[in-house]
């Protein structure tokens, strides 16, 4: 038995309950801080929501640490995040303006919440014209532009494209639909289409810079289906609505269901394409121990964003599009795939590398999604007591 096999055999990822509990103590403290925002709420429903969110997230993290499985527990929180954000968003806008539709008046008021997917479109106009081509608030309000930029820069530096699996509040939708079937009904997708997100990125960046208008938001973003969209008042807006609903149905629901892959994230999202480049600066990566790998190709089959292929496996790493979801790490029967901290030895303690990755990643998920979870719990309580999901 060589050294690597000894490491594999002697350091199983699964640990004792006490050890796991000790390991999650920092998360208990930090998650409480993130969820409470530094102060205990006074309303009973909000206290209940805080407790439920705290228990929920820390249970998941405990299970993640104790079982050594990353993707399964990450996905529970991630998919619920997408659902909670949608519920929270839609409820909020129905309360504020009576519908999900954005009127021209709302656009002119420049108070739309800034979504991270807009970021690629704003960069060139911002650099050359010092204009932010999005009708949102720079600071203050809900999801201000400055806040989102700071979050994006910080997370990109830390997690790289891990943002797409631990933070993107839309990714949970196609992640969810990709898990509904046991086996994929469509197994093969053309390799050329793996580059489609970069083509979409190129086009929207150039067109947004040319027209000083966020073209992806206006025409293509499928997630307007679950958040907000412009009122249908003309043939143009009707066509826009048909396009984004069709893209949602196709890329977020049907294709993930049929392929068991995150097709919106892997085959279309321009923000994902941009985020891929941040994998180069992130200190974390997913690597393959070629000595342990038996080339069963299970990782290639399970990767949700087509980030594994035979070429990358032979090189011992993932493609640049890796979203660090942990699915391949969990699926590998030989435990050959691992989270790695760049600059450290490849043949070290896999458990420490994994822990050092999932800590900031999960904490970010808690921080980003915590308030939406709590809001939905409060709304559910309101629904049970008053019959209405709306708070006003």
């Amino acid at each position: 038995m060589n050294d690597l096999e000894k490491i594999k055999k002697s350091e199983p990822l699964k640990g004792s309950v006490l050890k796991s509990l000790l390991l999650i103590i920092p998360m208990l403290l930090l998650s409480f801080l993130m969820l409470s925002g530094g102060q205990i709420p006074s309303a009973p429903s909000k206290i209940f929501a805080l407790i439920m969110a705290f228990i929920f997230f820390n249970t998941l993290f405990f299970l993640m640490v104790h079982t050594g499985k990353t993707d399964k527990f990450r996905a529970i929180a991630f998919c619920l995040f997408a659902l909670c954000l949608t519920c929270s968003f839609i409820s909020h806008y129905i309360e504020a303006r009576g519908s999900m539709g954005i009127s021209d008046r709302t656009l002119l008021a420049c108070k739309l919440p800034f979504c991270h997917i807009v970021i690629p479109m704003t960069l060139i106009p911002m650099a050359f014209t010092r204009t932010i081509i999005f009708p949102g608030m720079i600071i203050g309000g809900y999801a201000s532009i400055a806040t989102m930029f700071v979050i994006w820069i910080g997370v990109s530096l830390a997690l790289g494209r891990g943002f797409c699996s631990w933070g993107c509040f839309f990714g949970g939708w196609d992640d969810f639909f990709s898990r509904l079937t046991k086996k994929p009904l469509i197994k093969k997708i053309s390799d050329k289409l793996h580059y489609l997100p970069y083509a979409v990125l190129l086009l929207i960046v150039i067109s947004s810079a040319a027209y000083l208008f966020p073209t992806y938001c206006a025409w293509l973003c499928p997630f307007k289906t679950v958040t907000e969209f412009q009122d249908v008042t003309s043939l143009k807006t009707l066509l826009e609505t048909v396009i984004f609903i069709s893209l949602f149905a196709g890329l977020v629901v049907i294709l993930p269901f049929l392929t068991k892959r995150r097709t919106q994230c892997g085959l279309f999202c321009p923000m994902g394409a941009l985020q891929s480049f941040t994998n180069k600066i992130s200190p974390f990566s997913v690597n393959i121990n070629k000595d342990l790998c038996v080339n069963c190709k299970r990782c290639i089959k399970v990767c949700p964003t087509f980030s594994m292929d035979e070429k990358s496996v032979s090189k011992g790493k993932t493609r640049i599009t890796c979203v660090k979801c942990g699915k391949c790490v969990d699926a590998c029967p030989e435990k050959a795939i691992f989270f790695h901290i760049k600059g450290t030895a490849l043949k070290g303690n896999y458990k420490i590398g994994r822990l050092l990755f999932i800590y900031p990643a999960f904490l970010f998920l808690v921080a980003f999604s915590g308030s939406d979870f709590q809001v939905v719990i409060v709304r559910l309580i309101n629904f049970v007591s008053t019959g209405s999901f709306l708070l006003k």
Partner: protein
């Protein structure tokens, strides 16, 4: 001189409208800088032809009572539809490896010779490319140039007031020269040609923008039918 200055001052606006098509196409070709200059000149030649057609139209406009808005919209709609189909075909036509042509002396297929590895499977496009290799970029230049961007409309209005056809042609020719200066740097996209992936991305982007142009043409037609 007025036309030349108008062209130089509004050239960036022309780039804004043509860049999505041109950048995608040049990336998709994967040619060197020198090759890109050659393609660029073909593109500009097509654009020049388009401008000359419009010069004639502008001169006629000053002398006829044609319903201009309807005529322009109809003309633009058909141009967009044709351009959209052409770009879509270029972007998404199936490629296959031409092994026999590309194998080197040891029998291996060199990975980095992207131009060698790709051959269109579409019989029509292949015939066109083989027989008239300059036709495709020139056609794209012609169709992309026939674009009623704001600088172009300004030039059109000024040209329509010219007294004779030669003056009108000269006006548009100088306007064309002024705007074309800004297109020259695009040839340097060839610097990134060694990244084969960019060639694939460029082709896909070209196909996508073809969809947009097809949609734009369709919308113009629908609007026209709705008005009438």
């Amino acid at each position: 001189m007025q036309a030349l200055i108008l062209g130089i001052s509004s050239g960036t606006g022309c780039i804004a409208y043509c860049a999505p098509v041109l950048v995608s196409y040049l990336l998709g070709r994967g040619s060197r800088v020198s090759g890109n200059f050659f393609v660029l000149f073909q593109f500009l030649a097509g654009r020049f032809l388009g401008y000359m057609i419009f010069a004639i139209l502008a001169w006629l406009l000053g002398r006829t009572l044609v319903q201009v808005p309807v005529f322009f919209s109809l003309f633009t709609a058909f141009i967009y539809l044709i351009l959209g189909i052409l770009l879509f075909l270029y972007g998404f036509i199936r490629e296959q490896t031409n092994e026999k042509r590309c194998k080197n002396s040891s029998g291996a297929i060199p990975e980095k010779k992207s131009g060698c590895l790709v051959q269109t499977d579409n019989a029509v496009i292949r015939k066109v490319q083989d027989r008239w290799p300059i036709l495709v970029p020139m056609l794209i230049g012609l169709l992309a140039g026939l674009n009623f961007c704001p600088p172009f409309l300004l030039a059109f209005t000024d040209a329509a007031s010219q007294e004779t056809l030669p003056r009108c042609l000269m006006f548009f020719a100088l306007f064309f020269v002024g705007t074309s200066i800004f297109f020259l740097p695009f040839a340097f996209i060839g610097i990134v040609r060694r990244y084969n992936i960019l060639s694939v991305v460029g082709k896909l982007a070209t196909g996508l923008i073809g969809i947009y142009y097809f949609y734009a043409g369709l919308m113009l037609l629908i609007n026209l039918l709705t008005i009438r």
